[in-house]
Symmetry: C2
C-alpha cells in the first residue's frame, strides 16, 4: 500500500526542518512503516488542497488522509496495533498529550525566537517572502531583532525551560522510560528544527538533554542524523546570498 | 494488613495541606486501599526515623516502608496490579514522570510564592517557628514579602504557566484521558495545597482548570473535598492570632 508524508522542505529539497514533520517521520520509523517523504513548500498550498487544510505534516495512508502530527500519531497507533507502540498503553497516549501541548506552547516559542532569523536563507525564493512577512507579523518586529538576544536568551532556556526535561532524563534514559516513545519524538522535533535550521547551538555538550538528543539522532538507523546539522560557515554564506 | 500513611498536618490535625501527601492519598483511594492517614508535623522528625529520612509522605504497607510520593505510587502500582491502574500502562508511568518533574519544578514554586505567607498561621507552635525560619531562608526574605505581589503574580500564573494544562483539558477531561490517573493527582496536589492552606484563589471559576479541579474534588467519594477549603474570614482571624 502506498504511503506518502508531505514534509516541509527548504530550497534544497533535502533540507527538512519542520519540528512537526519530524514527529511524524520518527513515528513512522518507530512503527517500521515505509513512506515516500515528499518535499513541500510553504507556498504550495494547492498541493495540499485534497487534505482540506494548508499545513504539513499530511499523511496519505492508502485511501486515508490524515493531517496534524498528533492525529497522525494516533492514526498510526490505531491502524497498526501490532507494530511497536508509540504510546505503550492508553495512559501513555493520554499523558503524552500534556507533553504535546507543553512542547507546542512552551518549548516551540522559545526555540522559534532563537532560530527564526536563520530560516529564510534556507528557503526557496517564494517561501522566503512568505516566511518573512508572516513571521514578522507574528513577532511584530524584524526577524533579525527577534533572534538578536539569543546568546543571553539561551541561558535561561537551558536553565529554566529545560529543567524538568533534564531532571527527568536524570531518572530515566527516555521520556518513554527504558525505550523511546512518541513523547520523545515530540520533544526532539524542536531540537531537530534548531539543528537543521540554524547553526546556533541550543545545548551544551555535557547537558543530559544533549546526550538524549544524540540518542534520538541514532534511532532507526540514524534517520534524523541523516539530515545534516546546519554548519556555521554554510549559514553565513547562505545568509549573505539571501 | 495494616497500612499507614504519614501525612503533614496543621495545628488542627484535620488540616491536611501537603501537595505530596495528597498525591499519595488519592493514589491509595484510586487503588481502593484503606490506610490510617495519621497526622505528622514538621518538627516530629523522630517519628519518621524508621523510614531513614525526615519528610512525608511515608507509607507503611505491612512490613514495607516507602518514602517519597513517586516511589509510593510505583509501589502501589506494582504491589496491587489487579486494582485500578494509576498509570494505565508502562508508557503512562514513564511519561507521568515528566508531569511529576514539571509539577515539582514549575508549578510548585509558583504556587508556593502565592500561598506561603498563609501557612504559618495553620501550624502548631513548634512547626510555626521551624517553617518561618526554613522558608525565609529559602526565599531570602520575609514570607509576607514573598506573597505580597500575588494579586499580580496570579495573572501570569493563570495565563502562562497553566496554559498547557488548560489546552490539554480542552482536548480531554482528565490528564488520563477519559478517566483520571496518577498524573491528575500529581497536578491536583498543588491546587489542594493552595485550597486548604490559603484563602487566596488561584483560579477563576470559568477556567477549565478550575472545572477539572472540581471534578478531582468529587473523586473517590469526595475525598479531597472533605478537607475544607480555607475561608478568608478564618485565615484573617488565624493570622491575627498567630
Amino acid at each position: 500500500m502506498k504511503r506518502t508524508l508531505y514534509d516541509l522542505a527548504g530550497e534544497d529539497p533535502a533540507c527538512r526542518f519542520s519540528p512537526f514533520c519530524w514527529r511524524s517521520r520518527l513515528a513512522l520509523a518507530h512503527k517500521g512503516l515505509d513512506a515516500d517523504v515528499v518535499p513541500w513548500r510553504f507556498t504550495e498550498r494547492d498541493r495540499l488542497g485534497f487534505s482540506g487544510q494548508d499545513r504539513v505534516p499530511v499523511l496519505v495512508d492508502g485511501e486515508r488522509v490524515v493531517a496534524d502530527s498528533w492525529a497522525i500519531a494516533c492514526w498510526l497507533e490505531d491502524r497498526y496495533p501490532d507494530r511497536p507502540s508509540l504510546f505503550d498503553g492508553d495512559g501513555g497516549r493520554a499523558v503524552s498529550r500534556f507533553v504535546n501541548v507543553w512542547a507546542d506552547s512552551e518549548l516551540h516559542p522559545q526555540v522559534a525566537r532563537m532560530v527564526v532569523a536563520d530560516i529564510p536563507s534556507l528557503l526557496a525564493p517564494a517561501d522566503r517572502a512568505y516566511f518573512h512577512e508572516s513571521r514578522e507579523q507574528r513577532f511584530g518586529m524584524a526577524l533579525e531583532r527577534v533572534s538578536a538576544d539569543r546568546a543571553e536568551r539561551v541561558e535561561s532556556f537551558r536553565r529554566e525551560l529545560l529543567h524538568p526535561l533534564r531532571t527527568m532524563l536524570g531518572q530515566q534514559p527516555w521520556l518513554g522510560g527504558e525505550a523511546p516513545v512518541y513523547a520523545d519524538y515530540i520533544v526532539f522535533g524542536a531540537f531537530q528544527w534548531a539543528r537543521v535550521g540554524s547553526a546556533f547551538e541550543l545545548l551544551e555538550k555535557d547537558d543530559p538533554v544533549a546526550m538524549w538528543r544524540e540518542r534520538v539522532l541514532d534511532l532507526h538507523g540514524g534517520l534524523a542524523r541523516a539530515t545534516p546539522a546546519r554548519s556555521a560557515a554554510a549559514a553565513t554564506a547562505s545568509a549573505a546570498a539571501a
